[in-house]
Symmetry: C2
Subunit: 294 residues, 2 copies
């Protein structure tokens, strides 16, 4: 039987090695900025987004590290940018992330703002080092900037705050937030893996749809884990989302319905992937997303 | 005689029209986010960066708005992103910008952080709408992400804060800050105008060098104006940089030497531009940068 945890661990090691290679401590720019960027980038994490890029790319029989690693690692830069800014006192005001003090707790707020900015900017520097052909690089850059921008992760985060502040939470709002804050980025990682791999249109669209479903399942499970985990498992204070009045899937539908919904989304994703050759590992990741306990 | 002020005014109007076209009030994403982005984007400003892109592009006899306007306006998005984040309480803590309350004063800190993030991200969305060929778009995206990233504007801003906090200021530090915080971006705008226009290598390198000199002159003049302007002229509190202990050119060299240095840099830039055909307007802009009184 395929050991998905062992697979993810192996790939995480590979991702971490490339992060170290692409952003060594010594390099251009102020050293405090590099330290702050590296602190959050290397603070752990599952590396799910870069792994999704890699796994999807490999569906197409490709294995050129110079093509794909800059693109994959750039997604972890972007993910880390979103975490640093979300944790800021003016936003979620979190002291802990992945079991460690958040960036602004260690480096101060000003440096945390700029370290986030720098990670976002450097993600584009990095991905453009890929040896992929120019038209694919442009398609990838477009996908990412749409997935993160006004109608993507950043827009979802704004709506998340608005809902919390106005104490508004219903099926429509939680779906709006989840689609943008989480699903759009998970989908984008799968899409750019497909573009890099040279996918034709039909397969691309199937993968894109499966990506949305996996992304929605991922955020529902996150909402569930926020309610049911210990602090050690979660790496941050559990129950914080509920207590702060965030609009979560669990809040709208309750725990049981949320669990069933996550499973249903995952089943749908796997059904789509069943029609794509060589997608077994991606299916295992879809299952892992809903079965993970942290 | 060529009226540079009238020219800049005309181009500013054109830039403002395209901003309105590219980021209308109604569109994708949360409306409060669009409002916050538009507030700072439309709060005035000389539009120097997009105008530098346009003027340089036109040196090469080109005039295709679908090619160049997305690239030019994207630079104003990025510039506005840097202003919103620089003004934050954790950074420069400015209440006024261009004579109006800063973004976080109007929309709150959380939205200001995210509006800055969104402007940076959407700048890439926008510039990739240009009809320029893929290889030029990639070259342009590379130039921008380097000019803004760890060793560019963001790195310069980090060093600016460090110098202020540690009360360290000498010729080397002020040069390091000016080159990154300001000159790298001004140079990048001229470089991408040249790439978009199809410049060959030799001219590109001359323009790049002139851009650095103009950028350094621009920041020295900014430092001078911070000391010598009225609040109405400056649109923010004058003397704030000196009082807060920022490392400025005036602080290191005094007002007179700073004025002479700005003039010398401008003369050098114009000498380089003298060897480039059709660069008369760019020369006028170089003169305007050092002669402006606000």
């Amino acid at each position: 039987m395929f050991d998905i945890k062992a697979y993810l661990n192996e790939r995480k090691k590979e991702v971490d090695e490339y992060i170290e290679r692409y952003l060594p401590l010594n390099g251009e720019g102020p050293s405090i900025l590099r330290k702050a960027m590296r602190y959050s980038l290397l603070a752990g994490g599952k590396r799910l987004r870069p792994i999704l890029v890699l796994t999807t790319y490999e569906i197409f029989g490709k294995n050129d590290k110079d093509e794909i690693m800059p693109v994959a690692i750039a997604q972890e830069y972007i993910h880390t940018f979103t975490l640093i800014h979300d944790d800021l006192p003016a936003l979620d005001n979190d002291d802990l992330r992945r079991g460690k003090p958040t960036n602004h707790k260690v480096f101060g707020e000003a440096t945390a703002v700029l370290a986030g900015d720098a990670l976002l900017m450097e993600s584009f520097n990095l991905l453009l080092k890929s040896t992929l052909p120019p038209d694919r690089l442009i398609a990838i850059t477009k996908i990412i900037s749409r997935a993160i921008g006004t109608d993507g992760v950043i827009g979802g985060q704004v709506m998340d705050m608005e809902a919390e502040r106005d104490k508004k939470c219903n099926p429509e709002i939680v779906r709006y937030i989840h689609e943008r804050k989480t699903a759009s980025f998970i989908r984008a990682c799968i899409e750019i893996g497909a573009i890099a791999g040279g996918s034709e249109k039909e397969t691309f669209e199937k993968l894109s749809r499966a990506g949305t479903l996996m992304g929605l399942a991922f955020q529902i499970v996150d909402d569930i884990l926020d309610e049911t985990s210990t602090p050690e498992e979660l790496g941050k204070t559990p129950g914080k989302d509920r207590m702060s009045g965030k609009c979560t899937w669990v809040k709208v539908y309750g725990l049981d319905k949320a669990k069933r919904k996550a499973q249903k989304l995952t089943d749908e994703a796997i059904e789509i992937l069943d029609s794509i050759e060589n997608s077994d590992i991606l299916k295992e990741i879809a299952r892992f997303i809903v079965e993970r306990s942290y």
